[in-house]
C-alpha cells in the first residue's frame, strides 16, 4: 500500500510540475510543428519517398516520435532537480524506497511523452488519411515509445548531479538519437556505419512502429519494433537502478562536510 501511495504521490507531483511549467510544455508542442512547417515544407518540394504520398506524410510519424521522445526524456530533469535541491533524499528516505521512485518517474515520463505525442497525432489527418483503428494503434505505439524514452532519460539523469549538466548531456543524447532514427529521412541511404548505428538506436524502432501502425513502409515490422522498445525499457530501467547505488541516490548540493 505504501508503494502505491508513494508512486501516486510522485506521479501527481511530476504532472503538476510539468503542467505548471507552461513554457516547457508549450516549447515541447511548438518544436515538432516548427520542424514540420520549416523542414517539412522545404523538403516536401524536392524529396520523393517510395510508398508515401509526400515528404510531409513521411516525416509526420518522425515528428510525432520527436515530440514524444523530447517530452518523455526531458521529464528526467525532475530527478536531477530533486537530487540537486534535496527532494530526492526525502523520496528515498520514505518507506517505499527506490523501486517506487523509479517506477513513478517512469510512469510520469510515459504520461507526459504520450500526451505530447498524442497532441501532434491529432493533426495527422491534415497530411494523410487515417482510420480510427490506425489512430488508436498509433497512440499505443506512442505510449510504448514514451515509456522507452522515459527509461533512457532516467538512465541519462541517474549519474548527473546538476540541472546544468543534464541540459548539456541530454542534447548530446537526443539529437543523435533523432537524426539516426529514420525520423527525418530513410536510413536505407546512409553509410554502412551510420546504418548499423541506426539499427541499434531505440528511436528507430519507435519511428518504425509508428510507420507500421499508420500503414507506411516499415523496415523492422511492428512486432520486432515493439519488442525492441520493451527491451530498451527493461535494460535502461535495470541500469538506472544499478547506477542509483545507495551512496549516490541523494547527492547533495553540498556534501556533508568531513572533519
Amino acid at each position: 500500500m505504501s508503494g502505491f501511495s508513494a508512486i501516486h504521490g510522485i506521479v501527481v507531483r511530476d504532472l503538476v510540475r510539468a503542467f505548471r511549467q507552461r513554457g516547457r510544455l508549450i516549447g515541447g508542442l511548438v518544436r515538432p510543428f516548427m520542424w514540420l512547417v520549416l523542414v517539412g515544407s522545404g523538403y516536401n518540394a524536392i524529396a520523393r519517398i517510395e510508398g508515401v504520398a509526400s515528404y510531409r506524410a513521411f516525416v509526420f510519424p518522425g515528428i510525432i516520435v520527436m515530440a514524444t521522445m523530447f517530452g518523455a526524456m526531458l521529464t528526467a530533469i525532475s530527478t536531477v532537480y530533486d537530487r540537486e535541491f534535496g527532494m530526492l533524499r526525502l523520496m528515498l528516505a520514505g518507506p517505499a524506497g527506490i523501486a517506487a521512485v523509479l517506477a513513478a518517474r517512469m510512469i510520469a515520463a510515459t504520461i507526459i511523452g504520450t500526451v505530447q505525442g498524442a497532441v501532434v497525432l491529432l493533426f495527422l489527418p491534415l497530411v494523410a488519411p487515417v482510420s480510427l483503428g490506425q489512430w488508436m494503434a498509433s497512440l499505443a505505439a506512442v505510449a510504448l515509445g514514451a515509456a522507452a524514452s522515459g527509461a533512457v532519460g532516467l538512465l541519462v539523469a541517474a549519474p548527473l548531479q546538476s540541472v546544468e549538466n543534464f541540459a548539456a548531456v541530454i542534447n548530446v543524447v537526443l539529437f543523435p538519437l533523432l537524426f539516426l532514427s529514420g525520423a527525418l529521412y530513410p536510413t536505407l541511404g546512409m553509410p554502412a556505419v551510420l546504418r548499423q548505428l541506426a539499427q541499434v538506436n531505440p528511436v528507430s524502432y519507435a519511428v518504425d512502429l509508428l510507420r507500421a501502425t499508420l500503414g507506411q513502409p516499415a523496415e523492422f515490422g511492428a512486432l520486432r519494433s515493439a519488442l525492441a522498445l520493451l527491451g530498451t525499457m527493461v535494460i535502461a530501467s535495470g541500469l538506472t537502478a544499478l547506477i542509483f547505488e545507495p551512496e549516490r541516490r541523494f547527492m547533495f548540493r553540498h556534501r556533508p562536510a568531513g572533519p
Binding site: 500500500m1 505504501s2 501511495s5 508513494a6 501516486h8 504521490g9 510522485i10 501527481v12 507531483r13 503538476v16 510540475r17 505548471r20 511549467q21 535541491f85 534535496g86 527532494m87 533524499r89 526525502l90 523520496m91 528515498l92 528516505a93 520514505g94 518507506p95 517505499a96 524506497g97 545507495p246 551512496e247 541516490r249 541523494f250 548540493r253 556534501r255 556533508p256 562536510a257 568531513g258 572533519p259
Partner: protein, 321 residues
Amino acid sequence: MSGPLDGPHAIETVGLGRDYGNTRALEALDLVVPAGWSVGLLGPNGAGKTTAMLVLATLLRPSRGVARVFGHDVVRDRAIVRRQLGLVFQEPSIDGLLTVAENLRFAARLSGLSASNARGAVAAALERAGLAARASQPARQLSTGWRRLADLARAMLHQPPLLILDEPTVGLDPEHRDRAWGLLEAARRESGTAVLFSTHYLAEADRCDWVVLLARGQAVGSDTPARLKAVVGEEVVEIEGPGADGLVSEVQSVATVSQVVRTDRGFRIGIRGSREGLTRMAALTPPAIRFTVRPPTLDDVYFARTQGQASMSARSVDASP
C-alpha cells in the same frame, strides 16, 4: 555510553562510525535517545552531526558500529525504520512549484498514507503549523521562515514517533524559531515524539533533555545542559581586548578557576566560589578591555569541549570530561 540508559530507546547507537574514502567523518558515536526525549547534537561544522543523522535516517550506511531505531537496525530493517521517522534536512524539502497544501499532500503520500488519511493529516498539519491561511499559496512565495515551518509540518504530518532534524531553525528570525519550537514541543507533549536535532543556536539546546557535543567525529561531552554548564563553573569571566592575556593570571589570583578557554577574541574563564575580587578587578579594568562576569552558557561548554582549554596554572581545576 553517552546518554541516559533507562526506558525504551528511540535511538541507540554503539560505536557508530562513517568514513568518506579515507576521511573519518564520524569516529565512534555511542548515543541513546529514550522515547519522548529531546536530544541536541552540537558541534562545529564538520563535527559529524549531519553524517550521524543521515546514517540514522537510513540514507548512509555506517562504516562501523550499530544503530537502532526503536530496536530496529538501520541497515537490516530499513523499511521499518523509515516508517518511524520524520526528517528535516538543512535545506527545506519543499517544492516551490507546488502549493503548501500540495507539498504536504505529496509528503503524506510518500510516507504511505492513503488518499483520505492524507487529506485529514494535511489539514491538521496546516492548522498546527499556522499555515492554513497559506495552504493555497505557491511555496516559492513563502518567506524563509514559513517555508521552514512548512518543512517541519511536512516531517510531522504522519505523526512519526521520532523526528531527526538537521539544523531545523537555521536562518530563521526569533518569531519563526519560536513557532518551530512550539510545534516540536507540542508533538513531544501530545504524542511523546522523540526529537534528535542539531543546531548552531546553542541557546536552543538549553531546552532539551540531553546534549551531545561532537568534535572531529567524536563525542566530547554528553549530559544534561545544566550539568554540562555546571562543569564550566558557577560563573564565567569573559575577557576580551588588548592585554586580555595579562588579566588571566590576575583572575586566577582572586578566584578559584575551574577552566580557562582561549577564544579568537580573548578568554572565557570558569570560576567557583566568591566573586568579590572579580568585582574589584572589573572596576579597575581599562575601558579598552571587556571584562564581564556572567552565568555559564552552553556556548562556554561548546568552546571548552571543541576548542580545548588553554594551559592553566597549578591551582586551577581541570574540568575536562
